[in-house]
């Protein structure tokens, strides 16, 4: 299978008030055509910046280096015109807050049709028909009426459905979904994950699903990358990762979150401390100060992301279940 997305040695630094914040550090990642890959990490781990870098949407104070190849073509620092022709057509992204991703003063139908008018040069009437069909396809009831409504007249779940539909209008090769269900209630969250699943089957779109919640990613992704402090610390097939995490951070993430189907203990497992300040230099393993397996070596020497078996990699001097 050829990779639709191949990221290599990607680093992103933000300059703010004289300080340089290393948001992404030498990140590498591959997504095969039609594959669903999960990216998991806590706030500040760099998972959103990774999505923004692929979309070419990093803010002006960000300096990126490395390589992002999309369908074999380098898109990091590509000319604006190229990115603009890709975004929304071949390359789409949906965000956590569907309200702020829609233009508040334009009707839903106009916003959807615009995508086809712009990218496909479709006559507006035909674009409207295609938009209506897509709304029905993503499970919006009474789609004809919804086409005439404004974003604020729709519920959060419906807005996210609209955005998923909008992102799929041009049949993109890659959809980046950044916390698409975090703002939604659990029942609606299950609906949206189910919809992404169906859409992926139908349109053969590769999906990068970004979430802080391992359980949400579990429902969809075949492979998972775990991020901590701007680096990928572990990657494995989803089933393997859940069964036997290698990096202590992954193990802690799995253990810390209370589970509805796990045995109850009097106390929740916790991870002491908090993630490092990315504006300060990090020596050795960034996770070492919170890690129960850390040794003197971990504070001195940064572990490289090395193959653990044919499909898994971990960046740890003392991995679990070797």
């Amino acid at each position: 299978m050829s990779a639709i997305l191949a990221i290599d040695g990607l680093s992103v630094e933000f300059r703010r008030a004289g300080a340089a914040i290393g948001a992404l550090r030498q990140v590498g990642l591959k997504v095969a055509a039609g594959e669903c890959v999960g990216i998991v990490g806590e706030s500040g781990s760099g998972k959103t910046q990774l999505g923004m870098a692929v979309m070419g949407l990093l803010p002006a104070n960000a300096a990126a280096s490395g390589s992002i190849r999309f369908a074999g073509r380098e898109i990091l620092a590509a000319p604006r015109a190229l990115l603009q022709s890709l975004r929304g057509a071949k390359l789409a992204m949906i965000f956590q807050d569907p309200q702020s991703s829609l233009t508040p003063h334009l009707r839903i139908g106009v916003q959807l049709a615009e995508v086809l008018v712009f990218h496909r040069k479709m006559p507006r009437r035909r674009a409207q028909d295609a938009a209506l069909a897509m709304l029905r396809r993503v499970g919006i009831d009474d789609a004809a009426r919804r086409m005439r409504q404004y974003p604020h007249e729709l519920s959060g779940g419906m807005r996210q459905r609209v955005l998923i539909g909008m992102s799929l209008l041009c049949g993109p090769d890659l959809l980046i979904a950044d916390e698409p269900t975090t703002a939604l209630d659990v029942a609606v969250q299950a609906q949206v994950i189910g919809l992404l699943q169906d859409m992926r089957r139908e349109f053969h779109t590769a999906i990068v699903l970004i979430s802080h919640d391992l359980a949400v990613v579990a429902g969809l992704a075949e492979r998972i990358y775990v991020m901590y402090a701007g680096r990928i610390v572990e990657t494995a097939r989803a089933a393997d990762l859940y069964r036997g995490p290698r990096h202590p951070y992954t193990a802690a993430l799995l253990r810390c979150a209370p589970r509805i189907d796990a045995a109850l203990a009097p106390r929740l497992d916790t991870l002491p401390g908090q993630p490092p300040n990315l504006a300060l230099p990090i020596e050795g393993c960034a996770f070492a100060p919170r890690c129960w397996r850390a040794t003197e070596r971990c504070t001195r020497e940064r572990p490289l992301l090395l193959p653990a078996d044919a499909t898994a990699q971990a960046a740890c001097h003392h991995p679990l279940c070797a």
Partner: protein, 331 residues
């Protein structure tokens, strides 16, 4: 059994909606909400966003007016207290909010934020004594006493939530309401805060009303769980019973929809809840859940009473005895 610390009886809250004062329509945000909260106990409250969870918290504290019912605190109705008496009573009932930074005054130092409840409720205390109590409390919630001189924006989200908890604990309350208190925190921090709350409860014997949309966290902390839908309690049961044998179709759908970590364990068979709750102002008559319920029948056009299904287990469903047995989800 001891008399409950807090008894909420038929609590009703109404809101008015509409742009024009004359044409405003009133709608019911909370209807017939009744439950008990014994001392040293945690009661969990779950439901979708907009169902009235926070409204209930605010109505209990009289931060918003109630349209009917009673809120009995050790037998005394908070809803009829005079302003002055209410203010004195409030030291016993404290609340922690979801957004830790937004609920702390950015212009006050952490020391002033924690000292303020003491100035109000223990005015006789000297400045030195107040500082000592503030420092003790900071240490108790896992921060350092010297942090009293800092401002809220200098802290991380998890630390701000510790400050929010410390402030609530300063007047030594007997009831702590946690309104989505861990919902905006990362999982590794969430557990720290949940454990802190459990420890504080064990040390002080305070009761907690733990409001969250996160069923897994509620399952972990609660002894009794209340399930709310569109402003009505639809089910109330002891924790283990609620999660092992939920009765109300809404509770079942809610539990079935929680994502499972084991790949493939997501319950395809679980009753998938379609659509989203209608807005409160257009809640269906009769059973409010009937517009989304797979088991709705003609009888559901009448409001179902909350009836006893087992010891401590109440459920508001006409079809209770016709529902299929609950099949536990794959482990």
């Amino acid at each position: 059994m001891n008399a409950p610390l807090l008894e909420v009886r038929d609590l009703r809250v109404e809101f008015a909606a509409g742009r024009h004062a004359m044409r405003r329509k009133r709608f019911v945000a909370l209807q017939d909400v009744s439950f008990d909260l014994p001392a040293a106990t945690t009661v969990g409250l779950v439901g979708e966003s907009g169902c009235g969870k926070s409204t209930l918290a605010r109505a209990i504290l009289r931060l918003i007016p109630a349209a009917g019912g009673r809120v009995l605190w050790r037998g005394e109705d908070l809803l009829t207290l005079s302003r002055a008496a209410l203010r004195r009573r409030r030291r016993d009932l404290q609340i922690v909010f979801q957004d830790p930074l937004a609920s702390l005054d950015p212009q006050m130092t952490v020391g002033d934020i924690l000292g303020e409840p003491l100035e109000i409720f223990e005015a006789a205390l000297g400045a030195r004594e107040r500082r000592a109590r503030t420092g003790e409390m900071l240490a108790r919630v896992g921060l350092e006493p010297w942090m009293a001189a800092r401002y809220p924006h200098e802290f991380s989200g998890g630390q701000c939530q510790r400050i929010g908890i410390a402030r609530a604990m300063m007047p030594r309350p007997q009831l702590l309401i946690c309104d989505e208190a861990v919902s905006s925190l990362d999982v590794s921090i969430q557990g720290q805060i949940v454990n802190l709350l459990s420890d504080l409860q064990r040390e002080t014997g305070m009761a907690m009303l733990f409001i969250s949309h996160n069923l897994s966290v509620v399952r972990h902390v609660s002894r009794q769980v209340l399930v709310m839908y569109l402003g009505r309690l639809v089910e109330s049961a002891p924790r283990d019973e609620l999660f092992a044998a939920p009765l109300h179709p809404f509770t079942r759908a809610l539990i079935g929809a929680v994502p499972r970590i084991r790949p493939g364990a997501q319950a395809e068979a679980a009753e998938r809840l379609a659509g989203e709750p209608p807005p409160l102002r257009s809640a269906p008559s009769g059973c409010v859940f009937r517009s989304r319920c797979a088991h709705a029948a003609a009888i559901c056009a009448a409001a179902p009473p909350l009836q006893r299904a087992a010891e401590g287990h109440m459920v508001a469903c006409h079809r209770l005895h016709e529902l299929p047995p609950w099949t536990a989800l794959p482990k």
